[in-house]
């Protein structure tokens, strides 16, 4: 820790020692990882915690972590986590003095803050007026301009209807971004390049905005090409202190949803950082901001920065700022809410090392479809490096045996790694992802691992277009490189040998290993208790470190490289392993068995071209056709709502509808048939 950091901690220790803890009991009006995150700080301060939950969340980790828990309604968040009165009642009945809203849900809802205040309960966040001013994307720009903050060129105005949307878009000039006036994040945000895309974007965005925020107002503004998304974390108290905790770069995004974040940015200079930080503080002070907040900027290639919006809440990616500054942001929020001054001044804040965060989602990274189900295997990584006890932080709200449901955000965790510099933080992240065991659902770690290994990402040359530029056809799943094959083949060969020879004796056995349509003949030799594998004219000595059970196994190759391999399943023929985050089926047969396997016919899959299949589990919110209707290919015929997103299902072909297999309101499985065509 830097000298300034140490000094800050010392100062803070003195202050916390001299004052009583901010609150006796705090209710956390959220679920999942952020509820657990807030509770951790509360616990460390000796504050009692109250969890709220929906009925399906009654066994969730945040409920078990809390000292008390109150059920606030049924599964849909609109009837539970968004039910302000129920949550206020919970706070009153448990005697909570303050409510931390986390992010999402009611975190930026000024009515909620107001309702709490009326009941004599502190809202752990900014004052109502600041939420209101910054929550409105039009008003926030006006205030920002007045406060001397750089703003994006564009048109500010509420969009009444589709025609207005097209007119405004043309005035602003394409490309334009359409988004919800209320709420942040990527929900309800779409980029349109022409009139028809504006129309479609307007419809979908307004529906989603209504579903997520209960407010369907939208905003259209100029979309800046090739921008970087860099945001400033600020902290302000009721004593007029306002500091910035430097920046986070969140340029790696998909459909405006952040995927990988890092702090600091690899791009901006200390001068730009200072200018951005100071403008962020000016904006905060202009609205008498009191709490933690984030001012988002778009930064162009010339390092011009433009104000985007201010998020008046604890941000998802706050841990990376905590890593590099040593500040516990939740602790400061609690202090500010209790009326205490910040425990840091601007001079205490430095940049110590580098932190990277990956958002791990229950989502198929190839088709970008949410995945639900039980986490049959779940172990978080615990990389211990010699040079530092720090290294890995995994903020999650689930454990092995938890379920990911269709009702809420599909985020599994935020995996954060920290190191003295960018390269070491990224390398630790790669290792941490390799060791992160998640099974039972599909998740996006293969994509995360791919991004981390991408040369352009490594060089720091990134923008918010990174993913679409690097993977124009989408991420296709990791093909096995020659280098990876060289690691996977000997490791699986020995693993198989261990699994199928429980009392091994010195011997030499031939196998054929098949993966990704490729077949590699190998010889596994056990001599004097040491395994070696011969394949493709080379021999590798392999030392397994695990037993025959346990998911995470490590194989040392030639006592140099260590291959982490997750063994998920073995059905007697095929090993399902996760290697470098990608799930692979590896078949190990004897040469004779392989010879016969090669003669087996490849079976053709059932023809589904006549069917409209739900691509994901979710609830069927609308069907716009009836049996006998003629539709054109590509027409929207149904909507499946999953993870708060409207997923438009389009006719797979032109033709007449023979049968409708599902009805509105049904909970449909992924792969369930909805319509059948003639």
């Amino acid at each position: 820790m830097s000298r300034t950091g140490l000094l800050a901690q010392f100062k803070r220790t003195l202050q916390t020692a001299s004052v009583t803890k901010p609150f006796e009991k705090v209710l956390i009006a959220n679920r999942g990882e952020i509820a657990c995150r807030v509770m951790k700080t509360c616990r460390s301060l000796g504050i009692k915690t109250v969890a709220v939950h929906s009925d399906v969340d009654d066994r969730a980790l945040h409920v078990r972590m809390a000292d008390e828990a109150v059920c606030v309604g049924p599964a849909p968040s609109s009837q539970s986590y968004l039910d302000m009165q129920a949550i206020v009642n919970a706070a009153v009945s448990t005697g909570a003095q303050a409510v931390h809203p986390g992010y999402g849900f009611l975190s930026e809802n000024c009515k909620f803050a107001q309702l709490l205040e009326e009941n004599g309960i502190s809202f752990i966040g900014p004052k109502e007026r600041a939420i209101q001013a910054m929550g409105d994307k039009i008003e926030s720009k006006i205030i920002a301009r007045a406060a001397g903050v750089n703003c994006i060129p564009g048109f500010d105005g509420v969009v009444e209807d589709e025609a207005a949307a097209v007119r405004i878009a043309n005035e602003v000039g394409y490309p334009v971004m359409i988004k919800a006036s209320a709420g942040g994040g990527g929900k309800g945000m779409r980029v349109a390049w022409n009139d028809s895309e504006v129309k479609e974007g307007f419809k979908l965005s307004s529906e989603e905005a209504a579903a997520s925020f209960g407010d369907d107002r939208l905003l259209i503004e100029r979309f800046i090409d090739n921008p970087r998304h860099i945001e400033i974390q600020i902290l302000a108290d009721s004593h007029g202190n306002c500091i910035y905790l430097n920046e986070r770069e969140c340029s790696i995004q998909r459909r405006n949803q952040k995927v990988v974040e890092e702090a600091p940015s690899s791009f901006i200079t200390p001068e730009v950082r200072k200018a951005m930080g100071e403008q962020a503080c000016q904006l905060a002070q202009a609205v008498d901001y009191q709490s933690a907040g984030t001012v988002e900027f778009l930064v162009d290639s010339q390092m011009n920065f433009y104000f985007l919006e201010m998020n008046t809440r604890l941000q998802v990616e706050h841990p990376i700022t905590e890593c590099i500054t040593g500040v516990d942001i939740v602790d400061e929020m609690l202090r500010v809410a209790a009326g205490y001054p910040l425990s840091y001044s601007q001079s205490d804040i430095g940049i110590n090392g580098w932190a990277v965060e990956c958002r791990v989602y229950a989502e198929d990274p190839v088709r970008y479809l949410p995945s639900i189900g039980l986490l049959t295997k779940y172990t978080e990584p615990s990389v211990q490096h010699n040079d530092s006890k720090l290294g890995v932080r995994c903020d999650s709200g689930i454990v092995e045996g938890s379920s990911i449901s269709i009702h809420y955000d599909p985020m599994i965790s935020k995996l954060v790694t920290y190191g003295p510099d960018r390269t070491s933080a990224i390398e630790r992240m790669e290792r941490a992802l390799d060791e992160y065991v998640i099974d039972g659902i599909t998740h996006n770690t293969p994509l995360l691992r791919e991004i981390l290994g991408n040369e352009r990402f490594r060089s720091g040359d990134i923008s918010t277009k990174f993913l679409e530029e690097e993977y124009p056809k989408g991420y296709s799943g990791g093909a096995l490189t020659a280098l990876q094959k060289g690691e996977l083949v000997p490791s699986v060969a020995v693993l198989h040998h261990l699994k199928t020879n429980r009392t091994p004796s010195d011997d030499s056995v031939n196998y054929v290993i098949s993966c990704d349509e490729e077949k590699v003949p190998v010889t596994v030799t056990l001599q004097n208790g040491k395994y070696s594998v011969t394949f493709e004219d080379k021999t590798v000595e392999v030392s397994p470190t695990g037993g025959t059970h346990g998911t995470l196994q490590e194989f040392k190759l030639d006592s140099t490289s260590v291959v982490p391999l997750q063994h998920l399943r073995f059905d007697g023929v095929t090993h399902t392993v996760r290697y470098r985050c990608c799930k692979r089926d590896v078949t190990v047969l004897t040469p004779l068995q392989q010879k016969y396997m090669d003669t087996m016919p490849v079976k053709v899959k059932e023809d589904t071209s006549n069917l409209l299949i739900s691509p994901m589990p979710g609830s069927l919110s609308s069907i716009s056709v009836e049996e006998g209707d003629e539709v054109l290919e590509g027409t929207e015929v149904a909507i499946v709502v999953a993870m708060k997103m409207n997923n438009s299902l389009k006719a797979p072909k032109s033709g007449k509808i023979k049968k409708i297999w599902a009805k509105v309101g049904d909970i449909v499985d992924g792969d369930q048939k909805i319509l059948e065509f003639y």
């Binding site: 039980l374 454990v399 092995e400 429980r502 025959t548 007697g572 023929v573 396997m597």
Partner: protein
Amino acid sequence: MALSRFYIPCHALVKLAPQTRTAVTSVVLERLEQKKKEALLGGGQHRIDAQHKKGKLTARERIEVLLDEGSFVEWDQLVEHDCIDWGMDKTHFAGDGVVTGTGTVNGRQVFLFSQDFTVFGGSLSAAYASKICKIMDHAEMVGAPLLGLNDSGGARIQEGVASLGGYGDIFLRNVLLSGVVPQISLIMGPCAGGAVYSPAITDFTFMVKGTSHMFITGPDVVKQVTNETVTQEELGGSAAHCSTSGCAAGACENDVHLLLQTRRLLDFLPSNNQEKSPVRPCSDPAEREIPALDNIVPNSPISPYDIKHIVEFLVDEGDFFEIMPDYAKNIVVGFARMNGETVGIVGNQPLVAAGCLDINASVKGARFVRFCDSFNIPLIILEDVPGFLPGTQQEHGGIIKHGAKLLYALAEATVPKLTVITRKAYGGAYVVMNSKHIRADVNYAWPSSEIAVMGSKGAVAIICRGDPDLAKREEEYIDTFANPFPTAKKGFVDDVIMPRDTRKRLCADLKWLRNKSQKNPWKKHGNIPL
């Protein structure tokens, strides 16, 4: 495969005078070589090609995949039929359409026959049947499993009743071997007519998707008799038998997959009824705690969960060999290991029909339990059962007698029997599912268990009829019974355990139960309600 591996009956030659031996020997050897060469080719290369074209391996190739390499010893390779009718005297094939013998699977002896569709369409002659009977007799004598690879058009019609007699000889032996050595049938082509009764009697029948069929009468006869048009696949394909009729225990994608899965299954089983299953060295700790289980049962009694997740958490390395995965899915049965020792798992599946017991589930469960009891395989029952399925269809279908099968099977079983009540244990189904009352050794309840005569609504409607505040009474009922205490108080469960400790407790119990010895009263055999 090297010729020298085959059994050469040359002792007869030694008796000849020394001077003639050489000449005779060379002639005999030449003939022998010729015959063996022919035998290896079955019905000839073009028929082998036709077999391959269908995506099927030949009888001999199947044996190569199924057995440890080089372990096969063939018997009766030179057997030929003795039929002279219908021109059969002109056509002979060495081995006569079936390959029989013995070999090892992961070092353990098995006996097998593999029907050769390339020879007379695999049709069964009297000679063919005696070959099969010979290995069956030896399987019984030495106590080794019997594997039947079926790929046959049926009886050899030219032989008439001699062929039928052959079937009878096999069926009889199947019956006599039942419960003595494990018998497994692999259906790898057609298996039609009377022939189906051999697989039907064996312990497990597996099929190959798309290329195997079983039926008493084929589509042509069905059309003639009932005027019903049906394809072979619809009538007797793997889907029909694995999910509708319950005649097959499972199906695989192709021949190689099926043969390799059979090897895997054999690893779980003892060789005969006098032995215990082989113990597999295991590094999965018997003491392993499973925190995930503490929260796996939903709080709401009407929310489902997948019992297979619990099984996979509990058993060694999550390795579970499910039997009949697509039939009567409201009950899950299969083999697994606990601390290296094979166990039979029977679990109600709350995910399907709330895990209730119906006719199919009862029969599926009963047959599996009886297999385990026959072969000294301890049973673990995971119970979450709301009761027997009500309704006319079930009652008229005979749920009384079929449900009784499961009761009978569990009550008569003398292997170690362990029960874990994960949630519901209601009514008669509570008694049936390996309760203390039918000699279970250890019964545990999880804290989430509710054990009662019936659900709260129905119970209150009867015992509090006319009560003005039924809702209140129902609450009281739930308070009294929707927990494990009344049962624990009576000693009907031995302990209420934390789910996370389940593996630890079961492994410890199985250890002390290893030498369990329990005898049923002498009887010729019981009279299970069929």
